[in-house]
């Protein structure tokens, strides 16, 4: 079941280009049994709701924009809890009606019971979502970087397929995109089994706000299994393509972006003195001596050794701007990952096992079996061609990963709550009480 309807290309264009709505409740149908909310989450929701009430009351007497902001952030939880409690109350009512003397009334209550139950499950899910902190980059557009893994040309050909797949997917969904970089490798002039060009590196920008959240689950190694065009014996080869999703700054909000870029606290801040800028020119004299059309730029962020080169555009200033854009995005993502890593080490070890690290394969595209499998959500879809043209099958996979991500984030919240509760339960000053001491 998909909550985001599939829209054809022409309709998509008519649709106002607003925020991306991504499915959040894919799993609902399959897990439509109320397992009851984790008590620890319910407790957290109650605490937040109490805080919400208190803050709302204080706002009435003395307005404070900071308080108002906090109220905005947590009102989602308060609302979700209220709805859940209302539903629980009506479920209790129905249950008591089942004891009624009146047969007709009992029947009515029985009829209602199932739908109320389903509703309850949905509301529990909503509350869990509301409690799960939003990813700090969630509302941003994103850059999708595609880089073939080490090894033969197959990976480079498949890199081209992956690039086209996301491009087509965005076109189908009506998302605005822009090719920031598309570099094919020099050494071969041949084509892949599907007519692909050997890709060196490509960067696709998806300009819609919220694209980061919608695509972040695509990060990781995508594995391809197929018979290369050059393979005479018909043996299937396995190669891989890395897909990395980075946050990118919305472009039209330039003043905001600029202040963000100048703010050393920001993830996107880069000290220009730490970047080496080079123009890459062919050997020999430049200036008036030659009229080359290329104006390649290479940036090196010295502290991290991150380099970005850009030569796709005729305009030097565009190459420059895009190179900076990509560099900022990569650095911001690195900083974020470092913090996430730190947070993980503080959490229970059970969870860190579920963590996908950079080198892990997340998905397999198997041509011979006409199959695409996501190794995290466990979803298998057939009709590989539809996946590769960014069709409904790809949407299904992406949605399953979103659900998986949400679940993982929820588990992290539970783990954090558990750790906090343990720490609180531990005798003050002593370290022996809780499972782990802070």
């Amino acid at each position: 079941m998909l909550t985001a309807p599939w829209v054809c290309r022409s309709c998509a264009r008519l649709r106002p280009l607003g925020r991306i709505v991504f499915p959040t409740s894919i799993r609902r149908a399959s897990t439509a049994v109320s397992t009851g909310l984790q008590p620890i989450l319910l407790e957290r929701a109650r605490k937040i709701t109490a805080e919400h009430e208190e803050l709302v009351a204080s706002l009435a007497t003395d307005f404070n924009s900071k308080t108002a902001k906090r109220v905005g952030e947590i009102s989602r939880v308060a609302t979700a809890l209220k709805e859940l409690e209302d539903a629980r109350a009506s479920l209790d009512e129905l249950k008591s009606l089942l004891e009624s003397e009146d047969a007709e009334l009992r029947e009515l209550a029985n009829d209602d019971l199932e739908s109320t139950h389903t509703q309850l499950v949905g509301l529990e899910h909503n509350l869990t979502l509301a409690l799960t902190p939003k990813h700090p980059f969630a509302d941003m557009p994103c850059l999708v970087e595609i880089r073939p893994g080490p090894g033969g040309t197959e990976g480079r050909f498949f890199g081209d397929s992956v690039f086209k797949m996301y491009q087509a997917y965005c076109a189908n969904k009506g998302y605005r995109t822009r090719v920031v970089k598309y570099e094919s490798s020099d050494s071969e002039g041949s084509r892949g089994s599907e007519g692909e060009i050997p890709l060196q590196e490509a960067v696709l920008e998806i300009q819609e706000p919220g694209a980061y959240q919608a695509f972040r689950g695509e990060s990781g190694m995508h594995r391809v299994q197929r018979v290369p065009a050059t393979e005479k014996s018909g043996r299937t080869h396995t190669s891989a393509v890395g897909v990395w999703v980075l946050p990118s700054f919305p472009e039209n909000e330039t003043s905001e972006a600029e202040s963000e870029f100048d703010n050393p606290e920001s993830d996107f801040y880069i000290d220009p003195a730490e970047v080496r800028v080079e123009t890459m020119r062919a050997r020999g004299a430049g200036g008036q001596h030659v009229n080359k059309t290329e104006s390649a730029i290479r940036l090196t962020h010295i502290p991290t050794g991150t380099t970005v080169s850009m030569q796709d555009h005729r305009s030097q200033s565009t190459n420059r701007d895009y190179a900076w854009r990509v560099l900022r995005s990569r650095i911001a993502q690195q900083r974020r990952e470092e913090r996430e890593e730190l947070a993980r080490t503080l959490r229970n070890s059970v969870l860190s096992n579920a963590q996908i690290t950079r080198g892990d394969k997340i998905r397999t595209y198997n041509y011979g079996q006409d199959r695409c499998t996501d190794h995290r959500s466990g979803l298998d879809v057939h009709n590989l061609p539809n996946v590769l043209v960014g069709g409904e099958q790809l949407e299904k996979i992406i949605a399953s990963v979103q659900a998986w991500l949400t679940e993982k984030d929820t588990q992290a919240v539970i783990a954090d709550e558990q750790a906090a509760a343990d720490a609180a339960a531990a005798p003050a000053g002593g370290g022996g009480g809780g499972k782990r001491s802070k």
């Binding site: 570099e183 002039g189 800028v277 020999g284 004299a285 200033s317």
Partner: protein
Amino acid sequence: MPRLRPSLFWRAGQISPLAAKLLRACRDLPSSLNELRWIREHLSLSPLTTSVNAENPKALLRLQQLCERRAKGVPLQYVLGNQPFGNLEIKCRPGVLIPRPETEAYTVELARIILAERRSRTQPSSSGEGTQQTSMNVVDFCSGSGCIALQLYSSLQPTCPSLRVLGLDISPKAISLARENLRHNIHLNKLPHHNTQQSTHFRQADLFSEDHIEKTLTDQKWDVMISNPPYISHKFFAQQTSRSVRNYEPKLALVPGRHLQKHPDHLGMGARYNCAPEDVFYARLLEIAKTLKPRRILLEVGDEEQAVRVVTIVCQDAMLSRLYTDVEIWRDEPHPAFQRRRIGSSGVGGESEGGPGRGRQIRIRGSGEGRSVYLCQGDE
């Protein structure tokens, strides 16, 4: 020029016959593919050829034509008729030099420096000094397509309420193209319309004519003087320029004419300069600088050696060396400040003959080949 391997043509042909064709001019596969894409993009911007595919034979024909011309060696900028420069689109036409990326890099950097200084001067004093109307006058000698003048105008215009930019060139073709570029970028909304306080003008003038220069420019104060003059020697023109430059771009724009040195009676000034023939424009420009005394001067040069020769002219001149205390050589990529390097205190040329540059601190900024000489007056 080394011959390209046939296998390269074959590989390009596997991707597209047009890419193979472009190889003859581009010399490598990535450039051919890039240029092919740019030609397609260019066509897609014109209403008649928006989609370049089998359903549009007209567009396909046009694509063939453009690739054919490019393959013959015609510079892509002449084939497509323009070149991006900073945030502008500069029209290009045979007879006028194509703007270079190195020129773009230092022009943008100069604008950045000027704006940074203006900002630091206006910020601290909220009353008095900061709010005072400071006008900004910029002169671009040898303006060609107008790229430098127009880009400076574009960058400075938002922060300089009173701004005059003047471009001068001897070539009528260049002047009319520069004027067209001004109109074109206003039309594209990349430049604002003129108003009484802000304007850019182009005028035909011979740099070596006192009537054209000293007699007409001295009635106002000039803040910035910039020039990308012809600087290639006859020898280097034959040996170091690419074929597409030699065959298609105007020699007038690249090589200082022999007459400027050989004929002492040429406008009465030719023999005055005791310098290499390819440096004669710098000698003249620095002579003009002594009259106009602009706060900043930026001159493009062909390589680091020529940069050193220009610096030497400055150091040898009592007035110039007193006026311009800040002397820098900028490389192709001038920006990163941390790459500034101090050449020993013996200064440029000092080592070999204990020469005239002794004791001057010359800073060299950035990476790449020496590309321009920057002079700035000290604060009074």
